[in-house]
């Protein structure tokens, strides 16, 4: 199977583009994507600081290579489902940044009309299946989506993202077992940033991440998520295998979170030293790594980069402005969409509120 961690090629030096079979145009697209995600998250961080966004908010800064590399390697009709660190994966799947930002602001223009928030982005139209807040909750759901694909003899696949902490949940193990016995078309993707909040994975597991699917005979692999070219190539190949009936796959994507776990957690401190974080932000920034490759290949220059970045910043600013101008949900939204079938017999609500229709 394709790609373990990419190694620096020996002389004669093969370009990383050739090595992964990725044309420079595609590499430029991946860079543009990652810049969009980075600037979006920075804007969200800014908006949070001034009180426009509330509650839990988990940024994806540092992990953009996973979103771009894995999701851009899929077909549009493939499904993506993830945990609560979901903003950029939604954008990668094709959700408008305006809608993601408006959701963060709790506004009607949001993906869920302001009723989901940071952790619950959903967009059925582009097969972005959420946005799930219970660690590993999305893993059985992903398996069910894959069950549907097989049930209907379709050839889409599911990419199920999760954090490293999810692999210690029972639901993860139950779902992998079922995906394996029924040969379901799903790729289980661990965004292994090495920490579940403040708990280092090595403190809660004696086995390596890549071993975690072996009890279920699901082929496992490892890729460096900070190297978006390697990640893209890896998922392109895996997607083909899964689409062709190869059954599920498990991928340990090595990555690193450049910010705190959520907005209330400092970037470094009690559970990871400053030096560790600096080491990663300095040497492992997926945007800088691809930028340097493109510079080296002569496919991009400083001006080109700045133009690309200016566009990304502009898009994030527009998202902010859209969200800020978007109305807050009206009171009627409170009771909407609790039930799909509401006009039947009997009473469904028991809060005794005045707005309730039987009063």
């Amino acid at each position: 199977m394709a790609g373990t961690k990419t190694r620096r090629a020996k002389a004669p030096k093969e370009s990383p583009f050739d090595m992964h079979g990725i044309a420079p145009e595609l590499a430029l697209d991946l860079l543009r994507e990652m810049l969009r995600y980075r600037r979006f998250e920075e804007k969200a961080e800014e908006a949070y600081a001034i009180g426009k966004i509330g509650g839990f908010c988990h940024l994806h800064i540092g992990q953009e290579g996973v979103a771009a590399g894995a999701i851009k390697a899929l077909r549009e009709s493939d499904y993506v489902i993830t945990a609560y660190r979901d903003h950029t994966e939604a954008i990668a799947k094709g959700v408008a940044p305006t809608a993601v930002m408006a959701e963060l602001f709790g506004r009607t223009g949001g993906t869920s009309g302001g009723k989901g928030g940071s952790m619950h982005m959903f967009a059925r139209s582009v097969r972005f299946m959420g946005g799930h807040g219970i660690v590993s909750g999305q893993v059985p759901l992903a398996t069910g989506i894959a069950f549907r694909i097989k049930y209907k003899s379709e050839d889409d696949i599911v990419a199920c993202f999760m954090g490293d902490a999810a692999v210690n949940q029972g639901g993860f193990h139950e779902a992998l077992n079922m995906a394996a016995i029924w040969e379901l078309p799903v790729i289980f993707v661990v965004e292994n940033n090495h920490y579940g909040m403040g708990t280092a994975f090595r403190r809660v597991s004696l086995t390596d991440m890549v071993e975690r699917s072996s009890p279920y005979a699901i082929p496992a692999s490892k890729v460096n998520g900070q190297d978006v070219l390697a990640t893209y190539a890896h998922f392109r190949d895996l997607a083909a295998e899964v689409r062709n009936g190869g059954g599920p796959r498990f991928v340990d994507v090595e990555t690193y979170r450049f910010r705190g776990h959520s907005m209330s957690d400092p970037v470094s401190g009690t559970y990871r030293p400053k030096e560790e974080v600096e080491q990663h932000t300095h040497f492992d920034d997926p945007i800088a790594i691809l930028r340097d490759h493109l510079f080296e290949a002569g496919s991009l220059d400083q001006d080109g980069l700045e133009a690309m970045d200016a566009e990304a910043r502009e898009e994030a600013q527009e998202a902010f402005e859209f969200a800020d101008a978007s109305p807050v949900p009206g009171p009627e939204a409170l009771y909407e969409h609790v039930w799909a079938d509401v006009d039947g017999n009997g009473r469904l609500r028991f809060d005794g509120r005045e707005e309730a229709p039987w009063r």
């Binding site: 499904y79 489902i81 993906t111 869920s112 009309g113 009723k115 989901g116 619950h120 959903f122 967009a123 059925r124 299946m129 959420g130 946005g131 799930h132 807040g133 219970i134 909750g137 893993v139 059985p140 759901l141 992903a142 398996t143 069910g144 989506i145 894959a146 069950f147 549907r148 694909i149 049930y151 029972g170 639901g171 193990h173 139950e174 779902a175 077992n177 079922m178 016995i181 909407e336 969409h337 609790v338 039930w339 799909a340 079938d341 039947g344 017999n345 009997g346 009473r347 469904l348 609500r349 028991f350 005794g352 039987w358």
Partner: protein, 329 residues
């Protein structure tokens, strides 16, 4: 009309709905090759194949969640829990996923799923296998809870539950599977959710109940009638949606009510019913509304203790006498 068991009525509902809609499938432990732990799915594997009648591993959280995911993606799963005692393992996916996905996605993801299986105690199965689980499900907005007491209700309500676009916890009774009754054979015999059924009529006292306890209520009503007391037995059939009008209609007639349920009293279904009656029919009441429930203990094994723990027709008669301020004979 045909006379059939509750089990066969459920089986007929499953068969008809699976034949009607290719997106309906059944998954659970022992549903296929074993024909169902209680034989509710008997013959379905042969008729529909292992594609649609799927034996799962013993992974309640996993297959419960898998089926919610399948419903997100447009299928209409029927999940069989061998009993609801084992479904606690899946409760996260019911409450955190199935019940909330429609709301959290602002209407994008309806979850048309049925979680079904027996709830409540059978005989001498002890604490972990003898629990009435309705309260856990009915507590959360987003889940409907259905509790059929008779073969006809079992068939008509299961068909409605499968056609419903919301998650439905469909709670059967292990001791009811062999119970026989008349059942319409019509493929379109569907009983809408949220419509209670008056299973016995009388003017003096109202017994409100659901599920298997309907039969205990009927025994009590028969006893009372030999003493010249007429009891309404209001079978809720579904706890959410709740036919509040049917409860109020009866209470307005009798001015006295007793709630009977198999589960524990504390924050049980009856607590809600009593609250609703006092909020909306206070002026009609001539006595406090009483509840007859399981003793507030885990179910003991010893036969005599189990008998003491369970609600009984005698206790219901006693409660009715109390609300009638009547000396027992």
């Amino acid at each position: 009309m045909a006379v059939m068991t509750y089990r066969d009525a459920l089986n007929a509902a499953l068969r008809e709905e699976m034949a009607r809609d290719p997106d309906v499938f059944l998954m659970g432990e022992e549903v296929a090759e074993y024909d169902g732990a209680y034989k509710v799915s008997k013959g379905l594997l042969a008729e529909f194949g292992d594609h649609r009648v799927v034996d799962s591993p013993i992974s309640e959280l996993g297959f419960g969640g898998l089926c919610v995911g399948a419903a997100m993606a447009g299928l209409r799963p029927v999940v069989e829990f061998m009993t609801f005692n084992f479904a606690f393992l899946a409760l996260d996916q019911v409450i955190n996923s199935a019940a909330k996905l429609l709301y959290m996605s602002n209407g994008q993801f309806p979850i048309p799923i049925v979680f079904r299986g027996p709830t409540g105690a059978a005989l001498q199965l002890s604490a972990q296998h003898s629990q009435a689980c309705e309260t856990y499900y009915v507590h959360a907005p987003g889940v409907k809870v259905v509790t059929p007491a008779t073969p006809a209700d079992a068939k008509g309500l299961l068909k409605a539950a499968i056609r419903d676009n919301d998650p439905v916890a469909f709670m059967e009774g292990e001791l009811l599977y062999n119970f026989k009754g008349e059942v319409p054979e019509d493929d379109d015999f569907v009983i809408p959710l949220g419509v209670a059924d008056l299973k016995h009529e009388g003017d003096d006292v109202t017994i409100v109940t659901h599920g298997k306890m309907v039969h205990v209520a009927l025994q009590a009503a028969n006893k009372l009638s030999t003493e010249g007391i007429g009891a309404d037995v209001v079978d809720l059939r579904s706890i959410r949606p709740l036919d509040v009008d049917a409860i109020l209609r009866s209470v307005q007639k009798t001015n006295r009510a007793v709630y009977l349920e198999e589960g524990w009293a504390y924050v049980g279904v009856g607590a809600q019913i009593v609250a609703t009656i006092q909020e909306e029919a206070f002026d009609y009441l001539d006595a406090p509304v009483l509840r007859v429930t399981q003793a507030d203990v885990p179910m003991p094994y010893a036969k005599n203790l189990e008998m003491m723990a369970k609600p009984s027709a005698d206790r219901v008669v006693e409660a009715c006498n109390k609300v009638l301020y009547r000396e027992a004979r």
